[in-house]
């Protein structure tokens, strides 16, 4: 990806930045890195790549549906494409893009050197990538999954989906799931355990808070889908009878397990975005976030309540009326904490002096567009009404408004906002604004009409529709809109390339381009490999901002220090850093072999298993080759501890 090359170029520039003697910026360094920043960038690049893949699948969907009786794909291919679109977007684009932000920013926002388990972090990334590759290999190895991202049994059983596609689905998602679980444990420990002195929980930026809640949701939600996927895998590969109605298998078991995971999952997707805009909005409004504790607690409340609403995806599935009523009510009330957030963002902007730069535009886009999706969500929560809406395009409209309007806009806000932090140069704000407006128009053209289509009765997951139901016009509009979205993505890509070219050979942008508030801006741009020269001591929320500004006697804000004075220069040397390691990628590369072996030929699992076992073994006994090890002033116990630690996550070497 273009982004990578840019990174290298920029990072390469000698900024007086400390570079590790052994580390370069060649490909070898990327595949062995355990640095949370590089891993964050890797996540970002992979996620954006898969976003384009999923987007192209979306465009195919839209082409097929542009006119009645579409013939672009055909029924079989259509089913594979929409399934892979959902899976790719959710698991390979949205989640890892959030992970990119989490990895890059959490340690910086809490004043830490790295995450708690850097090698595990690398493993999480490579395993995610392995899972993504497994999923997409299905295209050329017998057919992609064709049972929908929700994979309802028994349609996904071997009788009804005889191609290996659903095996790829089950195993690919299992691998990405394990990756997410590892990463969530890692980040949870990081946030709890590695905060800089003075960084109490209630001095953490809202972004870090929302990420913490997200990681906790992941910790508890991933095992549930893991079980669901195991049941599916064992049914398909070993003939288990979980979903075979002829012997009493229950079709609803899968649905419960999937949605017990699935609903927390949608909050896993949205909370990072909420976190991002909670950083962007105060910065550009030049005001502190309004109601910080309420922001935090509403995020926690959303995470909590998200566990008690899953059956709203099953209102017509035949669960009893009492369940329907209970889940209907619990679902509605999630609107309350979410509303608290929306209104607090508005109150943050209210009375501000708002600069509508690109990040801010995207953030305001979230506030308004997500609200549309949230409100249609409330109309689904009314269970009797949902019996009319479910599985129609009205639902598709709902979730693309929350997902695209809430997540994609939020992530773009984050990309524009933190781009200088990561790469040391700004993205063009002018192009960014164009990007935003084209995206906003395209997005509304694409998904707005779907409300109408759904209420007119157009079903989801149909590869074609007949003329005469009144679907023609709006489908065409929607298809046109989707190409506008594609255009906006292309504008973004152009912006990335052009900005990188412009920045080539130039000094990096200043340390504090947005007059920002949180700790990550204390480090120079781009962030030096060791993060902070000195671990900051935190005295307040918005620590960085408070180092720049004070109040005069009238209570007015006055600048007390320039950004240059406050920011570190990244000149520290001899900082102890976790050395790179080969084993995460070796470990992860075994996983696709195991998956393919289970699907096609058990012998393949042997090399896969060997790779994994070898990696675990080597991981434990990995020699300490850190040039700075002697410098480390914590008790250096690697050498002897190595033998002691078994398959447990060993202390990071």
């Amino acid at each position: 990806m273009t982004a990578t090359t840019t990174v290298e170029d920029v990072v390469d520039q000698p900024l007086g930045v400390y570079t590790r003697p052994t580390g370069g910026n060649g490909w070898r360094d990327w595949i062995t890195t355990v640095d949370h920043k590089k891993i964050g960038i890797l996540y970002g690049v992979a996620a954006l790549f898969f976003f384009v893949v999923g987007g192209i699948e979306a465009l195919l969907i839209r082409l097929q549906l542009a006119t009645p009786n579409g013939t672009v794909l055909g029924a079989d291919m259509y089913n594979q494409v929409f399934t892979m679109h959902g899976v790719t977007m959710i698991f390979l684009a949205a989640m890892p893009l959030s992970a990119a932000f989490a990895n890059y920013l959490i340690p910086l926002q809490i004043g830490a050197r790295d995450v708690a388990f850097p090698r595990l972090n690398a493993l999480s990334f490579w395993a995610f990538l392995a899972g993504g590759i497994v999923l997409n290999l299905s295209w050329v190895m017998g057919g992609a999954p064709d049972g929908g991202w929700f994979g309802y049994a028994p349609n996904t059983g071997i009788v009804f989906s005889p191609s290996p596609g659903m095996d790829f689905y089950a195993l690919g998602l299992q691998i990405t799931g394990v990756a997410s679980l590892m990463s969530s444990i890692n980040l949870t420990v990081t946030v709890l355990n590695m905060r800089a002195p003075g960084m109490t929980l209630f001095r953490m930026p809202v972004f870090t808070w929302m990420m913490l809640v997200t990681q906790l949701l992941l910790v508890f939600a991933m095992p549930v889908i893991a079980v669901a996927l195991f049941l599916l895998t064992f049914s398909r590969l070993f003939g288990a009878r979980f979903f075979d109605p002829s012997v009493g298998g229950d079709a609803l078991l899968w649905q419960h397990l999937f949605w017990i995971f699935g609903h927390p999952e949608v909050y896993i997707l949205i909370l990072p975005s909420f976190g991002i805009i909670s950083e962007v909005i105060p910065t550009f409004s030049r005001k502190p976030i309004f109601g910080y504790p309420f922001m935090v607690f509403s995020g926690i409340a959303i995470g909590f309540m998200g566990w008690g609403v899953w059956a709203h995806h099953m209102f017509v599935s035949g669960i009893g009326p009492i369940s329907v009523a209970a889940f209907s009510l619990s679902t509605m009330f999630i609107a309350v904490p979410t509303g608290v957030k929306i209104l607090n963002w508005m109150a943050t902007m209210w009375g501000g002096r708002i600069k509508f730069s690109a990040p801010m535009l995207f953030a305001v886009g979230v506030v308004s567009m997500f609200t549309i999706g949230g409100l249609s969500g409330v109309t689904h929560a009314i269970s009797p009404a949902d019996t009319q809406q479910t599985d129609t395009y009205y639902i598709v409209a709902h979730f693309h408004y929350v997902i695209f309007g809430g997540i994609v806009f939020g992530l773009f806000a984050g990309l524009y906002f933190w781009w200088p932090k990561v790469f040391g140069h700004m993205l063009s704000d002018g192009v960014g604004k164009v990007n935003f407006w084209v995206m906003l128009v395209g997005f509304n053209l694409t998904f707005g009409p779907m409300h109408v289509l759904g209420l007119q009765g157009m079903s989801r997951r149909i590869d074609s529709y007949s003329p005469g139901f009144g679907f023609e016009l709006w489908n065409m509009v929607s298809t046109i809109g989707s190409f506008l979205i594609a255009l906006s993505i292309a504008i973004f890509v152009v912006n990335v390339i052009m900005s990188a070219m412009k920045a080539r050979g130039q000094a990096p942008c200043g340390p504090d381009p947005w007059d920002a508030r949180s700790l990550e801006w204390l480090t120079p741009n781009p962030t030096p490999v060791h993060n902070f020269d000195e671990v900051p001591v935190v005295e307040s929320l918005d620590e960085f901002w408070h180092r720049k500004y004070g109040t005069d006697d009238d209570g007015r804000v006055v600048r007390v220090a320039s950004a240059e004075e406050v920011c570190e220069d990244g000149s520290a040397v001899g900082v102890h850093l976790p050395p790179p390691s080969f084993w995460p990628i070796v470990f992860a590369s075994g996983l696709p072999f195991i998956a393919l072996g289970l699907i096609f030929n058990l012998w393949l699992t042997v090399p896969g298993g060997l790779l994994v076992v070898m990696a675990i073994y080597a991981w434990i006994f990995e020699p300490v080759d850190d040039p700075d090890a002697a410098h480390g002033d914590h008790d250096d116990h690697e050498g002897d501890e190595a033998a002691a630690d078994t398959i447990e996550e060993a202390p990071v070497v």
């Binding site: 790295d114 444990i185 012997v247 671990v535 102890h576 398959i647």
Partner: protein, 199 residues
């Protein structure tokens, strides 16, 4: 600067990363076993034309092997207590005993599975059989991983690289081991002792 990613002494909470991570992981495992147990409970009455749980469970036998596993928790905690005192010899002894008790349990499970299989309960016989073998199989895999870890510690200890200052490693693996034990406490009661449907 001491604040490295690995420094055990500089954590915010005062807990080491490893121990905290293990507890978070165990919290996560609750959801995993919960899903498996629920699956079993939904399906325990759906034995199609195969044997029903009430027909084949051998409570006295399972009681013995449950007791074995329970006692392995005692030996585990004794191993920890020993290494904390610096008593490496007893540490090794108890580690080995724990692993042996665990293996005994696994042996019992293998025996149970083969007996059930001979009585007509295959993995694909019915939703009940699939759920039963999956649940107990997952538990068995957890125990087996635990045994591997215990044995690795035992070998490290023999080689002299598991010493008093590493007691936390023993403690963390002990946490895992106890967790697997309490899962079985649950399984033993809910799946075996609570009367099951018969055909």
């Amino acid at each position: 600067m001491s604040d490295t990613a690995t420094s055990d002494h500089a954590t915010t909470t005062g807990m080491t990363h490893n121990k905290l991570a293990m507890w978070v992981f165990l919290g996560s495992e609750c959801l995993l076993f919960g899903a498996l147990i629920s699956t079993y409970l939904v399906y325990r009455g759906r034995f199609a034309s195969g044997p029903a749980p009430g027909d084949i469970f051998d409570i006295p036998f399972t009681s013995v092997s449950s007791f074995v596993l329970l006692m392995s928790s005692l030996t585990m905690v004794l191993a920890l207590s020993a290494i904390k005192r610096g008593d490496l010899r007893n540490n090794r002894l108890w580690l080995l005993t724990t692993a042996l008790l665990g293996s005994l349990f696994i042996g019992g499970q293998v025996y149970e599975f083969t007996t059930f299989f001979r009585e007509g309960l295959g993995y694909t016989t019915s939703p009940f059989s699939s759920a039963f073998f999956t649940l107990t199989g997952f538990h068995g895999v957890h125990v087996s991983l635990g045994i591997i870890m215990l044995m690795s510690m035992f070998i490290s200890s023999l080689r002299g690289s598991l010493r008093k200052e590493h007691s936390e490693t023993v403690e963390i693996i002990g946490l895992y081991w106890h967790f697997v034990d309490i899962v079985w406490i649950f399984i033993f009661t809910v799946i075996y002792l609570v009367p099951s449907p018969t055909s």
